[in-house]
Symmetry: C2
Subunit: 327 residues, 2 copies
């Protein structure tokens, strides 16, 4: 598999078959919402990264497909339950599960998805299963911890940039890193190689999330697929906002606090005003500098990987893409 | 371990240590509710059954403690999320997690508990881990399926007794059966012995749940620890109600339907009226006959077990207790 796209298609066709099986399982009111959630789609980045990584060390990638499905099912479970907690009505252009069905359905179907992920992982017949199983359960807990910190930050007055980075490491980066490491371990790459890929995944994951924050403000809503400034309107403590607080002079700080505290505002006006502050404080550049430093660390980890340079192309391209992507 | 009580104490002291570790884990807002939920307690029947069963086949029961904890954590996770879905305010005399903290906390802490159960299971170093892992994840899914059927039945007009039994098999019996089977497998008992214990667990679990239904109506609320007739007031389609519908003549049917359809009623009056119908239709005896048949099947499975008769005493006593217990 030379490109991530080919891993994505390979995964998608096998996964669609499994979704059909899940959809046809009784009781229908439990499994149909599971299938609905899995069909909504998404980029399938995590399973594709796992399969691609495995392909660097083995020719029999098909064997680890159930583990790739486990990661994708788990990821979609977290989105489903996060949508309940965040009261989000739409995801990828369609109603979220708790909107389309009910909140109880969303809770229970999500529970089933989390368990289903472990069930798929258990299908693997591999001498490294115990190690992978332990990695997966620790990572899954970390994702919950990240979501908890994200919710905690909403009600806290002060959040440092370090705390924010730790939150996105847990909420986003560890599952990407886990996908890569699992692919390596299951392909028999050994723990040293697997750990390098984990490090690569953490740094790419952090850059990926920072770019997500950046796109909310500076992206093209048509391409990004989300309205501009959603985070700004919600006072979400992203890197940009936290950095702006750090970099503001007294006047700008007063203006920023004015917009943060205002409960009755015209969204367009607030977004424009906060963007103006972001521009004056140079937080866009600061975000790019930080992304660049993560990008470099990701590539440094990749550099140490004991495979021919030509085979690193796809992962280098993915790291590049993480910080320039427009969607 | 000769009695279930000694297995319970053995488990409880080891488990309390783990709960303290969980309670001290950050982020506190995620793990404190987990510890709260685990400390509420309960009978610890499932882990005790697992440890006792293991003790029938091995002397080194301590090794499987993490699996016993996995079962207990998973069981408490299902209670926690069921309490959200059922909007229950109290459990075992204290506020439920979603009442004490918040619904979001209850969702996310429950998610963490479900994953934590798998993490504990993964701590086991045992040649049968893959088989046990597969059994546990299939069982965990079945418990979700049982909860879904339970919710489905609330809004359905017609539920057969067979459907009801299948629901309680999934919601209650399989996790008890799984505990016993896991204990046997992890102790190296072999699959034939393990399957007999699974069958025993299913039948005892069914009898256990039928007795639960019976105690709601005919138990001593002081001893049972729950108000009398909660199921009756909620029109819960228990064995007793479904059997009463089957056994009613036209007049009684009209009276039963009257009470079912009445939205504005005095609880005491409704409970007394429905109990009178239950007495006229002999559903209490029918429940005991069915429990007795499950009890006999449980003992038949136990009879085939290839261990000395004297060592079966505790499990025989547990089967007896399941159908006569008052709390």
């Amino acid at each position: 598999m030379n490109s991530l796209e080919s891993s994505i298609s390979y995964f998608e066709s096998a996964f669609r078959e499994q979704i059909s099986i899940i959809e046809a399982t009784a009781p229908q009111r439990l499994y149909e919402p599971v299938a609905y959630s899995l069909k909504i789609g998404g980029k399938r980045l995590r399973p594709a990264l796992m399969l691609h990584t495995a392909s660097l060390f083995t020719k029999s990638v098909g064997q680890i497909l159930p583990a790739a499905m486990a990661i994708e099912i788990f990821h979609n479970f977290t989105l489903l339950h996060d949508d309940i907690m965040d009261k989000s009505d739409m995801r990828r252009g369609v109603p979220t599960v708790h909107r389309k069905y009910s909140e109880n359905t969303a809770i229970l179907s999500g529970d089933a998805m989390s368990i289903l992920a472990f069930k798929y992982l258990g299908k693997i017949n591999n001498s490294h299963l115990q190690e992978v199983f332990s990695l997966f359960s620790i990572t899954a807990l970390e994702v919950c911890e990240g979501q908890q910190l994200d919710m905690d930050f909403e009600t806290r007055d002060q959040v440092t940039i370090d705390e924010y980075i730790e939150m996105i490491r847990l909420k986003t980066a560890v599952l990407i890193a886990c996908s890569l490491k699992m692919g390596a371990l299951l392909a028999g790459a050994g723990s040293e190689q697997a750990d390098l890929l984990y490090d690569y995944g953490i740094y790419v994951g952090l850059a990926f999330q920072l770019q997500d924050d950046w796109l909310d403000v500076f992206g093209d809503p048509e391409i990004f697929g989300k309205k501009q400034g959603v985070d700004i309107c919600a006072n979400k403590k992203t890197f940009l906002l936290l950095k702006a607080f750090e970099a503001c002079d007294a006047d700008l700080l007063q203006e920023l606090n004015h917009w943060i505290q205002k409960t009755d505002f015209d969204p367009k006006e607030k977004v424009a005003a906060v963007i103006a502050i972001y521009e004056k404080t140079g937080v866009s550049q600061a975000a790019h500098d930080l992304m660049k430093s993560y990008h470099d660390k990701a590539l440094a980890a990749l550099g140490k990987l004991d495979i021919p340079a030509a085979e690193k192309k796809t992962l280098i391209a993915f790291a590049d893409e993480a910080m320039v992507r427009a969607k």
